[in-house]
């Protein structure tokens, strides 16, 4: 590496720390790199324009649209009501309700901030009232903001699919394979946290009024329109009836028809504002995707991942050791960056190295997302800590303490997911 490059990269990193928007950070790295390589800088625009070459990219705007409309509707409330009728009788039932509802909601919105605000705010008072300790309740709503990232059709999962797909690994990465691979690891996290919830809630008084068959039926009727969504998403893809982007279209259409046409929770007058809001989120994400491709092309052009692999082979000798180092690296990355930034920056750098060690690219994606999920509530700067602190008016130190047990439990799951590839790949290898 020459001095100009190092100096430039340090300057860009400093600007990034000052809050320079990520797309500009990526663009600056690409511009610097291509300039030093002596190319006409129009290649940066040509690379960005490859966004229009990605088959199925329309899945990102369409799933995001579905998530935003769901978030604006009464779906969070109905979801909580139904989970309560189904699971409320268990020890720790209400906490499990919170976990399940959060996971479902995050899978569709991908934006964990929305989950804390929409569902956490609904459940935190309920948890406190039911006698759960304050620290447990706080930790639960804060940490489960990111639970569900591994479930289809979460945006980070799709984004990883596109970034990794662009790298043309020998074992291909498809959105469909990722959707399958996330199921078991995601369920593992929900199960472990549910076990913890049952332990915490074992002595708490059960709801005085037992939920009867009538309540369940009413809740089912109430949430009847949301229930088919997971079936629609996974079923559409795995039956081979729809592609991922077609499933996104069907899902968005379905959600729009239900919330605007049937439940009338969003008026036609308010609808453009909601769609535009989704459009802005899509714009922000796709912009960084496009410029990440430019940066990643510079990395490929200069054979950086290959050199990184050569370098790391000097002191990391086994896939397991590599994965452990990866866990540590991703924990830091997840704490410092938001998940979209981490995916678009680290995938092109690390995936070729991982493949060099014989790690399956789909497994790598799941490990990466699971790790980054912890980053959301890793002190001192995990994003969900700030959102929860603002939303519940609780100081950061208290929140950090409250999240510690969750950090350890989810961390345990991440280690399991890392070292046991079959958790991710077992389902994915089914014929499909």
């Amino acid at each position: 590496m020459n001095d100009g490059l190092i100096l430039g990269l340090v300057l860009i990193l400093l600007l990034a720390a000052c809050g320079l928007p990520l797309f500009a950070v990526l663009a600056a790295v690409a511009i610097l790199g291509f300039h030093l390589a002596g190319y006409d800088l129009i290649v940066v625009a040509v690379e960005f324009y490859r966004l229009a070459d990605m088959p199925g990219l329309v899945a990102i705007p369409l799933f995001t649209l579905a998530g935003y409309v769901l978030g604006e509707s009464g779906a969070p409330r109905r979801l909580v009501r139904l989970s309560e009728a189904l699971l409320g009788w268990l020890p720790g039932g209400l906490a499990i309700v919170a976990l399940v509802a959060c996971a479902f909601f995050t899978a569709f919105t991908g934006a964990s901030g929305m989950t804390i605000v929409a569902i956490g705010a609904l459940l935190y008072p309920a948890l406190r009232e039911a006698g759960y300790p304050q620290n447990y309740s706080l930790g639960l709503v804060t940490s489960s903001g990111s639970l569900g990232l591994l479930f289809a059709p979460s945006l980070p999962l799709i984004l990883y699919g596109f970034v990794a797909g662009q790298l043309q690994t020998e074992q291909p990465v498809t959105i469909e394979a990722l959707f399958l691979a996330g199921i078991v690891p995601g369920l593992l996290m929900v199960a472990v946290l549910s076990g913890h919830a049952m332990w915490v809630g074992r002595r708490l008084p059960r709801p005085v009024r037992k939920t009867g068959k009538g309540d369940l039926r009413a809740a089912l009727r109430d949430a009847g329109w949301e229930l088919p969504l997971p079936v629609l998403v996974l079923g559409g893809i795995y039956s081979g009836l729809f592609t991922a982007s077609e499933t996104a279209a069907v899902t968005a259409l379905y959600v729009l028809v239900v919330t605007v046409g049937i439940k009338k929770e969003i008026t036609l007058g308010k609808l453009p504002a909601v769609i535009a809001e989704a459009g802005r989120m899509v714009g922000a994400v796709l912009l960084i995707l496009g410029l990440a491709m430019a940066m990643s092309n510079w990395l490929v052009d200069q054979e950086v991942p290959a050199r990184l692999f050569e370098l790391s082979r000097g002191w990391i000798h086994s896939p397991l050791a590599f994965l452990l180092a990866l866990n540590v690296l991703l924990l830091f990355a997840g704490m410092l960056m938001d998940i979209f930034s981490a995916i678009v920056i680290l995938t092109p750098l690390l995936l070729p190295v991982a493949v060099g060690y014989g790690v399956h690219p789909v497994h790598f994606g799941i490990v990466m997302l699971a790790n980054l999920q912890i980053g959301y509530f890793t002190p001192p700067v995990g994003m969900d800590l700030f959102i929860a602190s603002y939303r519940f008016g609780i100081g950061l130190p208290t929140l950090v303490r409250a999240c510690l047990p969750f950090f350890l439990l989810v961390g345990l799951c991440v280690l399991l997911i890392t070292w046991w590839p079959a958790l991710s790949l077992g389902v994915g290898s089914l014929p499909g």
Binding site: V43, P55, T174, T243, V300
Partner: protein
């Protein structure tokens, strides 16, 4: 100073093609005393053909391995060899290419592109997830054709078959997701691009001869000294010859492998073969008549083949 020649290709790393290309690169580096270094970007990492051509003009890439249809936008005669049913077999191909390859090279040069080599990939066959026994079976099939493949577009328009144009790099995903279910490709190409996991049926009717050109940006070529140019030309001509020789064997091996995995190869129904042959000949006549392909190239091909033009109906 060292000159880098960067070449993008869709061929996956580890394919027999890449092996031959890397051998040529090593010969170039040795033959020029390290003055010229040839680097490859396999697996399509540099983007689709349109992107590769843009990057060649911008100087990020100096060359690419591209098919005739991909190059047709730059040089309309590039896909001439791929006219359907043009060749009866491998021997005829060899005879024709000996005299016509230089004509194509001259045509490329007029358009700022240096043709370093041309490699026969083999004959393409219909392959699909569903049987393609007769005209009725063709209804409702989702057939892929390469973007900007004018010849394929015309054939299937006459045949009344709906097509889905996509860059070749998108075919794998589209087969996976069911966006397309039928393709035309060589057996070796089908395996190399990993499409074989999806296709179950093949019609044993050689449709068209597929050829890939290794092209360089003319400016990059001219920056090399005459001596270095000669080294490059020799190394890549030898590589192309080896790849040509391998093509037939690779295709046979790939077909056998696919059949072991359950590929059903059905002989074409004679009426069905005649039907497709008719469409192909019609397109040949049309493209010659409206000047889409230059008469000089077509005449040279026919002269070398020793057969007259297809008679008009």
């Amino acid at each position: 100073a060292q000159t880098q020649i960067k070449i993008a290709t869709l061929a996956p790393d580890g394919s027999s093609w890449m092996r031959e290309l890397r051998v040529a690169a090593a010969e170039v580096e040795a033959g020029t005393g390290g003055r010229v270094q040839v680097k490859f970007y396999p697996g399509g990492v540099m983007g689709t053909d349109a992107v590769v051509l843009r990057k060649m003009r911008l100087g990020q890439l100096q060359g690419g391995v591209l098919t005739g249809s991909e190059l047709s936008l730059v040089y309309p005669d590039a896909p001439a060899y791929s006219l359907p049913f043009l060749f009866s077999g491998w021997d005829e191909v060899a005879r024709v290419r000996e005299s016509v390859d230089p004509l194509l090279a001259a045509g490329f040069e007029e358009r700022g592109i240096h043709m370093l080599g041309a490699t026969g990939v083999g004959f393409a066959y219909f392959l699909g997830t569903k049987p393609m026994a007769d005209a009725a079976a063709w209804r409702g099939l989702k057939l892929w054709i390469p973007t900007n493949d004018e010849i394929a577009r015309r054939v299937f328009e006459i045949a009344g078959v709906g097509t889905i144009p996509l860059p070749i790099g998108d075919v794998f995903t589209s087969l996976q997701t069911g966006m397309i279910d039928t393709v035309a490709n060589t057996p070796a190409g089908t395996v190399a691009l990993q499409w074989h996991g999806k296709v179950r049926h093949m019609v044993d009717l050689p449709l068209t001869y597929v050829v890939a050109y290794l092209v360089l940006d003319q400016r990059a070529w001219e920056r090399l000294s005459a001596g270095d140019q000669a080294v490059l030309a020799r190394a890549f001509a030898a590589a192309a010859a080896r790849m040509d020789a391998n093509a037939r064997r690779d295709d046979e091996a790939a077909l056998a492998a696919m059949q072991r995995q359950g590929l059903q190869v059905s002989p074409p129904d004679p009426a069905e073969a005649a039907r497709w042959r008719r469409f192909g000949e019609q397109v040949q006549r049309d493209m010659e008549a409206d000047g889409s392909l230059s008469p000089a190239i077509l005449a040279a091909i026919r002269a070398a083949r020793g057969t007259p033009a297809p008679a008009a109906n």
